[in-house]
């Protein structure tokens, strides 16, 4: 399949990319790894007159801890995240997530920023970033602004990014002591989008109660979903089986799935419950050094 004609602009700097976006407005799309954008153009599910390639811009791919955050350059490839020691050791939820995105070949091209900026509720990083309480940095003609991830996903394939902005960095707060997280995805086969997915990140107090819980859901509604009621319920409680089970029920209530070839509505909502419970359990085990 051949995409409809477009023009390609390799930007050599962020400034040049922003100028191009300003010039072409809604007719331009940002190309990074292209693993979602190119299939969309090929299948003619969408079109763009101009692609602004940001993958050749130096300094947009990095993974570093700085100022209380894990900072991920938006053009960082999933494969780089997978191979990162700091991610494996300190951010197991991110390690879980990147390992189940598409397949290894796609992960050699796909970028972390693209996974978020695409606004696809079937993508895996959004739920994880919701659980982690991350922020994204949007660069535009007037400079940078920071957007909390829970304000980022505004609709199906829609985000808070303006057409003349580029997502340039993801900031994940460095978890305090006694924190753990996990991402669990149910997929029909390697490379498929989630039938359902759940991300959980918890921080416990010295006496073992939940200080903070973050829960995100994948492909269970028109946008990535933060299970706010479940998060609130857990706060201040011991994360035992009963509390986790109740929180998982609340998370399932937040899900608004639609039926498709991956399953019926009731099945997906039940999977939201099961996967949330499993992710929370593993997150707590990791927070207490038992996994």
């Amino acid at each position: 399949m051949i995409p409809a004609p477009f023009d390609y602009h390799p930007a050599s700097s962020l400034g040049e990319a922003l100028t191009l976006l300003e010039r072409y407005g809604d007719d331009a799309k940002v190309l990074a790894g292209g693993q979602s954008l190119l299939p969309i153009l090929k299948l003619r599910l969408g079109r763009a007159g101009h692609l602004v390639d940001i993958s050749r811009i130096a300094g947009l791919d990095y993974i570093k801890e700085d100022g209380g955050f894990l900072k991920i350059g938006a053009a960082t490839r999933e494969a780089e995240l997978e191979r990162s020691d700091v991610v494996r050791k300190k951010y197991p939820i991110l390690d879980d997530t990147t390992a189940v995105i598409a397949d290894p070949l796609v992960r050699n091209r796909a970028t972390v920023g693209g996974n978020l900026a695409h606004g696809d509720p079937g993508n895996d990083h959004p739920a994880t970033m919701l659980a982690l309480g991350a922020q994204v940095v949007a660069s535009g003609p007037k400079g940078e602004r920071t957007i909390p991830i829970d304000k980022f996903f505004t609709g199906l394939f829609a985000t808070a990014l303006a057409p003349n902005e580029i997502l340039t960095e993801i900031r994940v707060p460095t978890p305090p002591a006694r924190s753990g997280g996990a991402y669990i995805k149910l997929e029909r086969k390697v490379g498929d989008y989630a039938t359902a997915g759940a991300a959980a990140q918890v921080t416990l107090s010295a006496s073992g109660e939940v200080e903070r819980a973050g829960i995100g859901l994948t492909n269970l509604g028109p946008t990535p979903i933060e299970a706010v009621e479940a998060e609130k319920y857990l706060k201040g409680k011991k994360p035992d089986d009963a509390a986790i089970s109740e929180a998982a029920k609340l998370a399932a209530k937040a899900a608004t799935p639609t039926a498709d070839r991956r399953g019926a509505v009731d099945y997906k909502r039940e999977m939201a419950r099961v996967l949330t419970a499993r992710a929370l359990k593993l997150a707590v085990q990791r927070a207490t050094g038992r996994a």
């Binding site: 004609p5 023009d7 390799p10 292209g34 693993q35 692609l51 091209r109 490379g191």
Partner: protein, 156 residues
């Protein structure tokens, strides 16, 4: 629509081409450079039949623009054989019956090549994970894994 003049090194040989923005890397290889060893299977980023190595990393060439390969190194299945001698990976696929119809084989071999370059002694699990983006519909995974192990043992 503007065309772009690109320079791509394929299997060690530098090629220049004028390409439309929308030309896919797999079409540059097959249609312009006549390197038809790289196959087009699903054409939707699933099957991995079109896998080539771009700057050392295996990628699906149906999901990369030719213009994105400008200034880069590409290796295709045609680059495995050297001076008439099969590469150990090719030898492995023949010795261990790593194919039936052969359609997925070029992609399987390129993914395996990149795996062994990074990890010369992979475990069976590591091999299976590495080729999880390459589909074989003859259900030959057992023999494909053996083929990669054969190549690893020969020091590919």
């Amino acid at each position: 629509m503007a065309t772009h003049s690109i320079k791509v090194t394929v299997n060690g040989t530098e090629h220049t081409a004028d390409v439309e923005s929308r030309l896919l890397l797999v079409h540059l290889l097959r249609d312009k450079l006549q390197l038809t060893g790289t196959h087009i299977g699903c054409d939707t980023t699933h099957c991995g039949a079109c896998t080539v190595i771009l700057d050392g990393e295996p990628v699906k060439s149906c999901t990369v623009l030719a213009v994105q390969a400008d200034g880069r190194q590409v290796m295709t299945v045609e680059g495995l054989e050297q001076n008439g001698a099969l590469h150990p990976i090719q030898e492995g696929f023949t010795q261990e019956h790593g194919l039936q119809c052969g359609f997925c084989t070029p992609g399987m071999m390129m993914t395996s090549y990149a795996l062994l370059a990074r990890n010369p002694k992979p475990s069976e699990l590591e091999i299976r994970e590495a080729i999880s983006g390459n589909l074989c519909r003859c259900t030959g995974y057992v023999n494909i894994v053996k083929s990669v192990q054969y190549a690893a043992a020969k020091g590919a």
